[in-house]
Structure formats: C-alpha cells, structure tokens
C-alpha cells in the first residue's frame, strides 16, 4: 500500500537532493563529507533544512535532570549529544545536520550537476555468476541442511497440541514431519567487472595538501564508477623511483623522499593488467596523479612507450591528474599532451587546488568512457 507519508517523505528527500546539489562544489572541494562513510551510504553535513524559530540559545538555557552526581560532574553526552559543537552566530543560517544519502543517490546528483554521460561498458555480455543463497525453510531436504532449532520447535508445537508434552519430563522427539531444512535460491550475481587502478607519486614534492586533493578526487571517481558498474575493484599503486602496490590506507599516508620514476608505476600497472585483468572481461580505469615532475626525459619516453603498447590498448580510459605543487615543474602533462593529443583514451587534467577538483572530475568522467 502506498502511503500518504511516502509523498511527503519523497518531497523531503527531493529538498535534500536540491540542497546537496546546490552545495556540491563545496562538498567536493572540502571533502568534509567523506569523513563518515559506511558501506553504501555517506552522512553529509547539510545546512539544516529544519524550520527556524525564535527560540532560546542553547548554552544559556540548561535544564533539570534526575539522578546521582555532584555539582560540577559532566553529563557526558549532553542534551544534544554534541557538547561544544556549533559556535554561536558563526555563519548565520548554517545549522549543520547530518543527512544520510546512499552512494547511488549521490552519484545521480553528481551526474545531474556535472552533466556526466552514462558509461557504455566494454563488451556487450554482462558477466554474471550464479550464487546460492539460503533464503527460507522447507520441510524436505538433505539431512546436512536440517535446521535444528526449527525442527525441535515444530516437534514441541506438535507435542503440545497433541498433549503428549509433559512439562515435568520435557522430552521432545521429532518425527519425520517435524523436520525442517534450509532452502536456497540461486541468484544471479553480477561479478565485479571494472577495476580502478590508482597510481600516485609519493615523492617528496607531493605534500599533504596534494594528497588530500587526490583523496577527495578518488572518492568521487569511486562513487561515480561504482554507480555505473555492478561491482568494482580498486587497486592502489604508489611510486617514487620504485613502485609498489599498497592498500588504500597506506596509499594516502605514505610519504617518501626519493626521486620520481613514473615508468616504474606504469610498469607495475601494465603487469597487473596483464596478469589479473583480461581486457575482454574487465573495464579498466587507471588513474595517475602526480605533480608532473619526472626523473629524466628518458624515463618519460619509457612511459610513453609503455602507455602505447602495454596500457592503452586494454583500458577504457587512462586519466592523468596533475596536482599543482610548489616543487614540481609540471612538465609531464605537456609531454603526455604532445604524444597523445589525438588519443581519445587519454585524459589529462591540471588540478590547481581544491576548488578545481570538480572541474577535473568533469574532465575525467565527462567522456562517458
């Protein structure tokens, strides 16, 4: 039954969406929303949509409670569970509350705001595997799947109803009809069919600010690609003069001081693709972030070569984001431009600062690949 509240609830969600959209640039550039991220939901601090009233300020009002404790004892999680939050009159009209939004919804908002085209996956066949899932109970089945508790419950029920149950001697003997078994359904489960390979330069010239930009940008790329594919894998490669694969946490935290050989990362990336991601089954998205400094011209040549022969033929898109840093020369993006200007599969973007993240995302994902 569709209920009246569904309309009002839908209306409320619509307002929320509008607000998020309106503030999307801010969210994207500040990255404050990534702080609380669940499995498929994010909590977004949103300027309150609640209705303002003339009311008393929080701090001065106080209240009355009941229980143990001496004057001066803190009350722990206070009245609103947020002691100390929200400075008075800081930004008029901005009362932040956390609103939960699913990543799917967020991706939709993002695509509306950034006008992102939907991605056409490579290959027409969907890769689907079958998976068994226990979904219910039935009265026939193999003994190995017998549901012990249900069986005994059934037996107890039968014995009570036939008055053969004696509370003083509570013996329960299941008979054949009492037996209950787990039953399953076979569900088609779409397989992970896209992989994002993040590569980042962690040499000395990439500072915290640069990494923060990469972190925010990767969140949004994840969100978008996740909404486009059934399943997605992410791999992380860091490099200075050497490249290695790391987990997500390490990826954003590592800081090395060595020089930079971009080719090392590309080599590893190419190897990864070759070993694990056959291109006819996978949509492959390498993203590389760096400040644009490479060790030598020779290495750049190697990079171009690697891209041409080992990477580009297999991927949907190769994205290179150059984060501006006070130390980097920013040469690499020009080199790429020189060699791949005509190539649709290569997208480059210069990210000047946090404010430019949104445009750079648009550069990367705007092609619908």
């Amino acid at each position: 039954m569709s209920q009246r509240i569904d309309l009002d609830h839908g209306r409320f969600r619509q307002i929320i969406r509008g607000k998020i959209k309106q503030h999307l640039r801010k969210y994207i550039s500040q990255g404050e929303m990534i702080a609380r991220k669940g499995n498929d939901k994010v909590a977004i601090p949103l300027p309150s949509v609640d209705i303002p009233h003339f009311k008393f300020g929080d701090k001065q009002s106080g209240g009355v409670g009941q229980g143990e404790g001496q004057p001066g004892d803190p009350l722990g999680q206070g009245k609103d569970g947020k002691p100390g939050a929200g400075e008075a009159g800081d930004r008029p009209g901005e009362h932040l509350t956390d609103i939960e939004v699913s990543l799917q919804e967020l991706a939709e908002i993002m695509s509306e705001e950034l006008a992102l085209p939907r991605i056409l996956p490579k290959g027409t066949e969907k890769i689907v595997s079958l998976k068994d899932k226990y979904t219910g109970i039935r009265s026939t089945g193999p003994e190995s799947l017998r549901h012990f508790r249900r069986t005994f419950k059934q037996a107890l029920r039968r014995q009570i109803s036939t008055s053969t149950y004696d509370p003083k001697n509570p013996v329960i003997v299941p008979i054949r009809d009492d037996k209950r078994y787990r039953s399953w359904k076979t569900l088609p489960e779409p397989q992970a069919n896209a992989v994002i390979i993040y590569m980042m330069d962690v040499s000395g010239s990439m500072g915290d600010e640069q990494k923060e930009i990469v972190r925010i940008e990767s969140f949004w790329i994840d969100t978008w690609l996740r909404s486009q594919y059934h399943g997605i894998e992410s791999r992380y490669i860091i490099h200075d003069a050497m490249a290695k694969e790391v987990d997500r946490d390490t990826f954003f935290k590592t800081r090395e001081s060595g020089g930079t050989m971009i080719s090392s990362a590309y080599k590893l990336c190419a190897k990864m693709i070759e070993d694990e991601y056959p291109p006819d089954l996978w949509n492959i998205y390498p993203f590389h972030f760096s400040d644009g400094d490479n060790w030598s011209v020779d290495d750049t040549v190697t990079c171009v070569e690697l891209l041409k022969t080992k990477i580009l033929p297999f991927v949907n898109l190769f994205a290179y984001g150059q984060v501006e840093s006070p130390y980097g020369s920013g040469q690499f993006i020009k080199d790429l431009g020189e060699h791949f200007d005509e190539d649709e599969r290569v997208v480059t973007s210069e990210i000047k600062g946090k404010d430019a993240i949104m445009d750079s995302i648009k550069d990367f994902l705007g092609k619908g690949k």
């Binding site: 409320f12 722990g76 009362h95």
Partner: protein
C-alpha cells in the same frame, strides 16, 4: 485511514476489562476507538502528530524518516498514541505483547480522562480530525491553483513563526466596553464643574484644566498606537494586518489553528503523562496483570520511567509527584500547620489519617497545568528525595554539567523551562514603526538570549509575510540589540532596551 478496522476480539475483551477497572477507580473518559497498526503506519501517523489526515508538507516526511530510523536501529519504539477527540482514537502497535497492550490501554484510559476533565483542554476542538482533513483539502486546493512550491514555501514561512501565539488567549474573554469607546468624539473640552463665573477660576483652576487636557491628548496619542497594547498573538496580528493574498491568509490561519490545538498538550505534558503512568501502574499492579505477566510489565514500566543524565523524564516526574501528593493528602501533610512546622522529625512522621489523597488527585488533574503543578507541589522534600539537579553548559570545561542541587535553583530552572512552553515571549509592539509601516517586535528578555542565527532566519521569514522591514528588539549578552531585516539585508545594531 480507509475506514476503521475492527480490532480482534481478544483485544476488545481486554479493552472491556481494562475500562471496567478504570471506571471502578473513578476515571471518566470519552469512548475510545482502538486501531492496531504496523510500525510503518504507526510512524507515519506519529509523524503527522497523530492525525492521518493532515495537509501535505515535507517536514512530516522528515519527522517520519527520523522515527523510522530510530525504530529500525532499535533506539525507540512508539507503543501507543492517543488523539484528543470525541470519540478518542488510540493506536496500538501490532506485534506488541499482550501485557504491553494491556498497559497501553490502561494508559490510554487515563489520558482520555485527562483530556475530558483538565481545564486546559476545555476549549479544544474535539472534532479536530475533521478539521485537519478540511485544512488538508484547503491546502491541496491552494496547491492546485498556485503551485506546490509556492504554497509549500509559504507554509514553511508560517511554520517558522507558529510559536508566536498566546496560549492563554483562549481562556480570556475580551470584551470592549462599547460606551467607553471614543470619549474624544463626545465632547470638545475637558469636563468642568458648574460654577458662577467669578468663582470659576477657583473651582476649575486653569492649571488643573491644562493638566487634564494634556492627559487627554496623551491618551489620544496612545490610541493612535498600533497595536494599542503589545500583542502576543503575533500570528493573529499578521492575519489581520499583513498584506497577504487570500490563499496566504488562509494558510496562516490553518497553521495558527493547528498550533493552538497543540497548546494544551504542550502545557500539560508532565501532568498528562504522569497521570496516565500513575493509572496504568495502579490498574496493572492492583487489577489487570496476572502473576505470569507481572515481570514483563515491570520490565516495560522500568523502561518508561528510566532517567538519563541531562534529560527530564516527564513520565517519571509526573507520576512521582502525583504519588507524593496522594501520600501527603492521605496523611494530612498540608495546610497552615504543616507549612509552619519546622521540625524535620515531626514532619517525617506526620500522619493525620485524613485520607484525602484520591480526592486531591482528581482535583489536581482538573485544575492544574504543568507550571502550577510544579509551582505548588514540587517541594524541598520531593526535590531531595527524587535527586533532582539543575544542569547547564560550563564555558570553563566546555561540558554540560550538573550545576546545582539547591532546591530553589532547581525549581527555578524547572519552571523557567516550562514557562511559555519553554519559548521566548515575543510581542508585536508597533505595526507602524518609525511611521514607515515597519513591524517592530520585542522579546521580553528574562535572562536567556535568543538563538541568534535562528532569530535572523525567522526575521527573514517574517519579512516575507509583512513585506516591509521587520525588526526585533532583544538583549544579547546583556546589551540591547535591534535586529532588522529589510529584504536580503539583515542588520544588527545596539539599541536601548527599556525595562
């Protein structure tokens, strides 16, 4: 709701049993219609404030989401809801245990008894379900004609000021003495005593006449003030005087009507819940609960009466206070002699066997509201026994902490939180401020500042209604402040705050 579903027989039997017990105890209530709801519908109706027929608005959707979340996370569950109408509607949650349903029914009987007899409910509209449905139909019609966005936005604006009403106005009979109106039109000059001409100077001294004239002129000036007296029902003032479209005025009326409907509930929260808790406890423990049920009952009751730091549980405070009153009046602990006795020992063992407890309880539930209830019966002994404390925000530690256990401070704090339903007093003082038809409000500052950022937003909303600049005079951190909103422009300047 599509028609009223019959409740199952076993619940109807239960209802009869419980109501018989309740009547035997002296409760007197309107007929009650129960309906069993699943949790989703329960949350839905709760989001609509108990009325399934309300006008469409997104904030109900917002409340619903919160309720649904906290139910799904197992943080809260609505056991029961009861609506003040005749007959009274009450909702039971599907899947609750029978003990819970029994408790809820006993609870509901007492609520309805309270609705029927408490003085502050005497003016409420007992056909509010129909009225709400009419409101909804009107709002829908406006939406069809003027667009959902326009109407919804305007309702947002109205809701922002819905608390600016005068809760007591329903009980004041305002009559204008028709004969007393317009004395200035009746005669030209101040009245004089008759006197012979040569005596006139002495019998009607010119200084006196001048003073009288001046007084009259002042009075006239006073008359020209608009409104004549500061008006607390800001919504009424806006409905009467703001330049609104017909549909806008209608929306504002609807919001005001509904706000007034909910006033008595807000004014008697502690008393009402206390009363219901008192009786469900009495009915269950003395009559209705079987020995097999008593543990489950006690478990639920403990949940209802639980207290948490920094939170006042109205059920707990209410029920304990009623019990305290019953005990005191049973033992004659009242009157002059009791009040003047200052021997703790004597007081502790005071028992005159007056046995007036029950009579007093019913009297209290008829005549009091939360403020008078607390003011009169929240005693030093009660405060200490129940371990009440006042708390506040400590700037020093950055924490909410216990401030005091001193009786006077606790009671003051408690009463302050209840005064005007915990809301600031705001009056319209001038509808023609600076002679530019601006609106001037005044916040009667009583020690606590307004929430500045919310006040500013509210002012913006008032501007949308009044369409001319709107100001509010208040005090912030001890200094007079005038906040003024003119279009997008919001200014804040120091000002004299008289009084």
């Amino acid at each position: 709701m599509a028609g009223l579903r019959q409740i199952p027989t076993y619940l109807r039997d239960m209802q009869e049993e419980i109501e018989a017990h309740a009547r035997a105890f002296g409760l007197d209530f309107f007929p009650i219609l129960y309906e069993v709801l699943d949790y989703k519908t329960m949350n839905e109706i709760a989001a609509y404030g108990g009325f399934p027929t309300r006008y469409p608005h997104w904030r109900f959707g917002m409340d619903y989401e919160q309720l649904a979340k906290s139910y799904e996370w197992g943080m809260s569950k609505i056991y029961e809801m009861v609506i003040n109408t005749v007959p009274a509607y009450a909702y039971l949650l599907e899947g609750n245990s029978l003990v819970d349903q029994k408790t809820v029914m006993a609870h509901v009987c007492a609520h309805v008894d309270f609705f029927k007899h408490n003085y502050f409910f005497s003016k409420t509209n007992r056909k509010m379900i129909d009225t709400m449905a009419n409101h909804a139909a009107r709002v829908r019609r406006h939406m069809a004609r003027h667009g959902q966005d326009a109407v919804e936005n305007f309702i947002d604006t109205c809701l922002s000021i819905e608390n600016l009403i005068d809760p007591m106005s329903q009980f004041i009979v305002r009559q204008r003495d028709a004969a007393a109106v317009d004395p200035d039109e009746r005669d030209e000059d101040v009245p004089r005593l008759r006197a012979k001409q040569y005596m006139d100077k002495f019998i009607n001294p010119p200084e006196y006449l001048d003073a009288q004239r001046k007084k009259r002129d002042d009075e006239k000036k006073q008359k020209k003030k608009f409104p004549e007296e500061p008006q607390r029902d800001v919504l009424r003032f806006l409905i009467d005087h703001a330049p609104l479209e017909v549909w806008q005025r209608d929306c504002l009326e609807i919001v005001r009507d509904e706000a007034y409907y909910f006033v008595p509930q807000a004014m008697t929260k502690i008393m009402n819940e206390g009363w219901a808790t008192y009786w469900h406890s009495k009915i269950m423990t003395e009559k209705a609960a079987s020995s097999a049920e008593i543990i489950d009952y006690a478990d639920a009751a403990a949940g209802i009466l639980a207290t948490a730091p920094g939170r006042l549980n109205p059920y707990k405070l209410g029920v304990e206070l009623y019990r305290n009153i019953e005990d005191r009046w049973n033992r004659g602990q009242f009157g002059k002699e009791w009040a003047e006795c200052d021997s703790m020992d004597q007081k502790r063992n005071w028992d005159r066997r007056t046995g007036l407890g029950k009579k007093k309880l019913f009297e209290v539930r008829k005549l009091y509201n939360d403020i008078t209830f607390i003011d009169e019966f929240f005693t030093l002994e009660f405060c200490v026994e129940q371990k009440f404390y006042s708390f506040g925000f400590s700037e020093r530690s950055g924490n909410w902490e216990i401030m005091s256990r001193e009786f006077k401070k606790v009671k003051d704090q408690l009463l302050r939180g209840l005064t005007n339903r915990g809301q600031p007093f705001i009056h319209v003082v001038d509808g023609n401020h600076e002679n530019r038809s601006e609106l001037l409000l005044r916040h009667a500052h009583e020690g606590v500042d307004l929430d500045l950022s919310q006040a500013k937003d509210t002012l913006r909303n008032l501007y949308k209604v009044w369409t001319r600049p709107v100001s509010i005079l208040t005090k912030l951190e001890g200094k007079g402040k005038l906040l003024r909103c003119e279009g997008d422009n919001l200014t804040e300047k120091s000002a004299d705050y008289p009084g």
